[in-house]
Structures are given as C-alpha cells and as structure tokens.
Symmetry: C2
Subunit: 328 residues, 2 copies
DNA sequence: CTGAAAGCGCTTACAG
DNA sequence: CTGAAAGCGCTTACAG
C-alpha cells in the first residue's frame, strides 16, 4: 500500500529528489524526465503524505476550528465559511466540538497544538475563560488565533465581536418608541454573550425609566413556551418580550397564540440572531440581527492575513441591527 | 517555540529514547527518572507532534468525514456524533465540505488520502456516483469507509441506508387509509435519496390505483410555498401532499394557510426527516422519520469496528417510520 | 533501566 | 539537469 516517492523513483529510474521536484513543480528538470515521472505518478495514483511533507516544511496546512457544539446552526456558519475558503488554498480544517466545560475547551487548545495547526479559530463567546486563556499562553503562544464573539488580551489573538449590548438596548428603545412600557427579557444559558445582551437590556430600561423584568428559559422552544406563559401569569401587564435567541422566541410566540393573545397587538416579540427560524416562524419574527455572516467573513479575512503574517492582529466590532417583521 | 523531545532530553540529562518512553508510558523506566522527565514535560508544556509520531507509527489518528454541505442540519448530526465519539480515543476529525459536483467530491477522496486518514465516512446519498467510486478505488482501496445513506459494491465500504422507498410508500398508504385519494408529491433536488423516495411514492400510487402527481421545488421554504400554490391551482382536487424535506413542508403549510385552506381538513401534509423544523412549525408536521439518529449511531459503531479491524464491513438498512402530528 | 542507531516519507541545500 | 546526504520530530528494536 501507500507508495512512497522512492517507489516512484525506482520505477522511473531517477532519484527521490527528482520525483520530489516534479511533484512540487520545481524548475530545472529535463522535460522528458518530468513527463516520464508525471506519467508514473498519475498511473500509480500517487498521493504525497502531507504529514511527512509537513514535518520537513514545518507546516501542517491545517487549521483548527473550535466550536462548542457543531450542531449549533449559529456557529457552524462560520466554520463552513472558513473551511471552504482555506480548502482552496490546500488547508484542511480540524473542526472540533470543544464541549461544555472550560476544562474541555482548554484541553482542545492542547489538542490543536499537538496537531500543529497553523492557525486557530474559536467560535462562540463561551471560550471566554481564564482556563482557555491560560491554555493559549501555554500551548499556542504564537499561533495566530481569531476569536469570534470574544476577546483575549494576548498578542496572538484577534477578535471579531458583535456589540450585543448596544443591539439589545436598541431593541428596547424601539419597543419604547412604539409605546410599549412593560418589556421583559427572556434569557437562555448564562454565557458571556448573553450577559452582554442583558447588560444592554438593563441599560436601556434604566435610561427609559422602565422596570427590568428578567426571566431565564431552558434552551428548547418548548421550555421557552413554558417560561413565557409563567412570566405572563406573574406579569399580566407585559406588552413586549425580547428573547436572547430566536428559537426561544418561536416557542414563546407559539404559546402566546395558543393562549389567545394577538401578536403584536397585545404583545410584541423580538428574537435575537436573525436566524433561519425567524423567517420560518409563523408569525415571522422581528429580531436583532447579530450579523453572523459579517462576523464570519471578518474572521476569515483576518485569518487569511494572519497566516501570511503570523504577527498580524486585528480587532473588529460589528454593530447589530434591528430587523422588523411580523411580531412588532 | 516548538520544543522537541531532544530539548526535554537535554534538560533532563537523558536520551530522547527515554523521553519518548516516558511520554508513551512504556514500562521499565526508573521511577526517579520517569518523575524527573514528567516534571520537565509538564513545566515546559511540551506537546508531542502527532505528525512526527504518525510518520513512524504509520497512523494518523485522523478520520475523514465528508459532507456535501456542513450547514445542512440533517448531515451534521452524524458528523457530530462521530467526531465526539472518536475524539475520546484520540482521533481528530477532518470534517470537509465536499461540494456540489461529483468532481469535487471525488477530489476530496484524494485529499483525505493524502492526509492518510485511518477511516472515512461519507454522509449523504449524493456521494453515490461513478467518479467517487473510482476515486475510492484509486486512492483509498483499503481504507475502511462507511457510507451513510448510500452504498458501493467495494470490499472496504460499509453502508447504512434508510429504506426511503418503503418509508414514502407507507406515508401514501396511510393517507389513502385516511380517505385521501388525490395525493401529490413535491420533490427537492435530484439526489439518489430523493429518487428512492419518489420510487416509493410511485409504487404506492400504482398499488392503490392513484394518479402520481409529482412536482419539484427549489430548496427554500419560500420556493416550496410557490410550488405548492402553483400545484394546487393546477390540481384543485388535491387533498394531500407529501414533501421530500420537512422544510419544504413548512413552506407549503404556511402558504396553504395564507390561501385560507384548513390543515389537515382540506388538505393533509407529510414532511420527511422528522427534523427540528417539524416540531417548530405551526402547525406541527406529520413526517416520515428517516431515523437520522439511528443511522448516525450505526455509522459510528461500524467505524469503530472497522478501525480495529480494517477488513470489517457491514451493511445496515433502517426502516423509516411515520410520525403523526397536526398536519394529518 | 538506558542509549545509539535506524527509519517513517518527505524536501532542500550542496555538489557535480 | 540530477543525485547523495542530511534532517524534520518522533519511536522502536537492539545492545549493553
């Protein structure tokens, strides 16, 4: 199995050096030799071992992409974009599910380091932790890293973040301007990103003299429906709810309809992320667009520059915008 | 940067062999030596180069997972499961988007081969093509491969397929038993998998003496809504529609509601895949459950055995079932 | 219990 | 234009 360049060399009656030169299209090889070797390469379906090549070149042509859960549609978009873009340049992407704990996420930094990836991307604010930071310092102190939706104050880490605080505050202000005065917020998991959203909600409520009404839901549509119903029973005066995630808004909308509420007449709803759910939902969601596509494409751009020049670093902030549909 | 075992050896005053033995927990090392080396390993945050190690061991500890588009929720589930499972055993997964053409998909087989993956998984019936088959013969003739939702008659390729023909036929029969007599089918892209579904639809229609009414939609909910409306204008007698994909069913349901139809009274709807959309949709979809989870977990099991024993091969067929909710 | 040497599959000066 | 040699970072017989 696995032919080596020595096998090819023997068959062509040349040295391995020559075969290597042909494979890598180096100049200064007699045309007839080149063609003979090329034919054998082709006929034998030879494929170079990237591992061996990487060992001598000190490159792996691999990228590491860490996502806490690859099944999360919101995160996979970025991974997709990066994988597609760099595959064209001959890079393969190790897309790994870094798990739910800080320990496991830090461990994945170590794993990427032992695979000698040339650059890494962290997707999701959950990577914001001291353990991950330390793992980067210990294991990838000079590898270019791009952090999507988070930041570390390290010389090799770039960041691309959405200003979710401001995005959420704007949603509150919009509802206020529409005459809503009892605006609740339903949060999902406790992540750095969600904390920023709540900060924006609280800030805007304070500015406008509104009461902060905060509730937390599990991360399924069904749980959100229950949370929404419960919240409404405690605060029958509610005339608007903002959700930290579109999916939760879908669940809430559904339950409110079941309870005989009219949306947005009785109660206005705003989701977050402008995800596919927001258009599929019935009614279609108004939502805070966190500009996933722009975030991902900024990551991809930075990564590209950082691979060229490993000391390149950049910090980008993207401003969310409000997308108005049928729930406001 | 990049310490090698020679750096560690020098610092510990031992040979590289000894360091290697400590790293690999080989027996027969004096306890004091082992502990001294371990401490240095830890303090210096040493991490072995998997590439170099792989070169000598003739293993890569990498798996290749080919998906046509990683953003497809239906496909990523399998990739997730496999990645998670094998990471525990020290394997990293190259999850690659193999693209839209047979050429590109075949090319990815070559790429996996040059990365010397120890096993590969093809997810999705679209890999069913002569070009991919040839690429496997040429580049991975002995690497264990598991094909999710497709098969190749090759000694190194296992398969796990859903019997979509039968699953779809059953949906038709169910509708018939409910008294529906004008049952249409709306297909999505032309893939081997979708062809099997249509075969099942046609077969059941023939059995029951029903007319086959087949239409094709683009792959967004919006396009499906248009297709549905158009189909209904040509066949006002329709009292049921089966969709090749849940998402299309969501789009169709939405439009039918907008047109003032009552679901399922006027018209019954059945989607395919039992995807998250089917529960989120309003109304919730009845759907042909293609048992994604079982498919994926069967792939993962086979893969595990095949990595142990590279000549292991298995062929599994999984029977879909009908899940009844609010659209029938 | 430990080390020197060879080798995994490549690439790249260096020499001719 | 081409080849012999050294080396990338490891592991593993082999010898002691």
């Amino acid at each position: 199995m696995g032919l080596t360049i020595y096998d090819i060399a023997k068959e062509a009656g040349v040295s391995a050096s020559t075969v290597s030169r042909v494979i890598n299209a180096r100049p200064g090889i007699k045309k007839s030799t080149r063609e003979r070797v090329e034919k054998i390469l082709r006929d034998s379906n030879f494929s170079v071992s990237e591992a061996a090549r990487g060992l001598v070149n000190q490159t792996s042509r691999m990228l590491g992409i860490l996502v806490s859960d690859i099944r999360n549609q919101h995160h996979i978009e970025g991974a997709y974009m990066i994988e597609q873009h760099f595959m064209k340049k001959g890079y393969c992407s190790l897309i790994l599910n870094a798990g739910d704990t800080d320990e496991s996420r830090a461990e994945y930094i170590r794993i990427l380091s032992s695979r000698r990836v040339e650059a890494a991307v962290l997707i999701g604010s959950v990577f914001q932790s001291e353990k991950v930071r330390k793992a980067i310092i210990d294991y990838m102190p000079t590898t270019p890293i791009v952090f999507q939706n988070g930041e570390f104050d390290l010389s090799n880490v770039s960041s691309v973040v959405a200003d979710e605080t401001e995005g959420t505050a704007e949603a509150v202000r919009y509802l206020y301007n529409q005459g809503r005065r009892n605006i609740a917020y339903i949060n999902s998991n406790d992540t750095p990103s969600n904390r920023k959203k709540i900060a924006g909600y609280d800030k805007a409520c304070a500015e406008l003299g509104l009461e902060s009404i905060l509730s937390v839901s599990g991360d399924s549509a069904e749980e959100s429906a229950d949370t929404t119903e419960h919240l409404l029973s405690e605060h029958p005066e509610l005339d608007a709810i903002i959700y930290a995630v579109d999916l939760l808004c879908v669940g809430g909308a559904r339950r409110l309809l079941d309870l005989g509420k009219s949306i947005p007449k009785d109660i206005a709803l705003i989701g977050t992320d402008n995800s596919p759910f927001s258009i599929l939902a019935n009614p279609r969601l108004s939502t805070i667009d966190t500009k996933l596509f722009e975030l991902s494409s900024a990551c991809s751009d930075i990564l590209e520059k950082a691979i060229e020049n490993p000391s390149y670093t950049e910090h980008v902030v993207i401003r969310p915008s409000l997308v108005l549909r049928e729930t406001t």
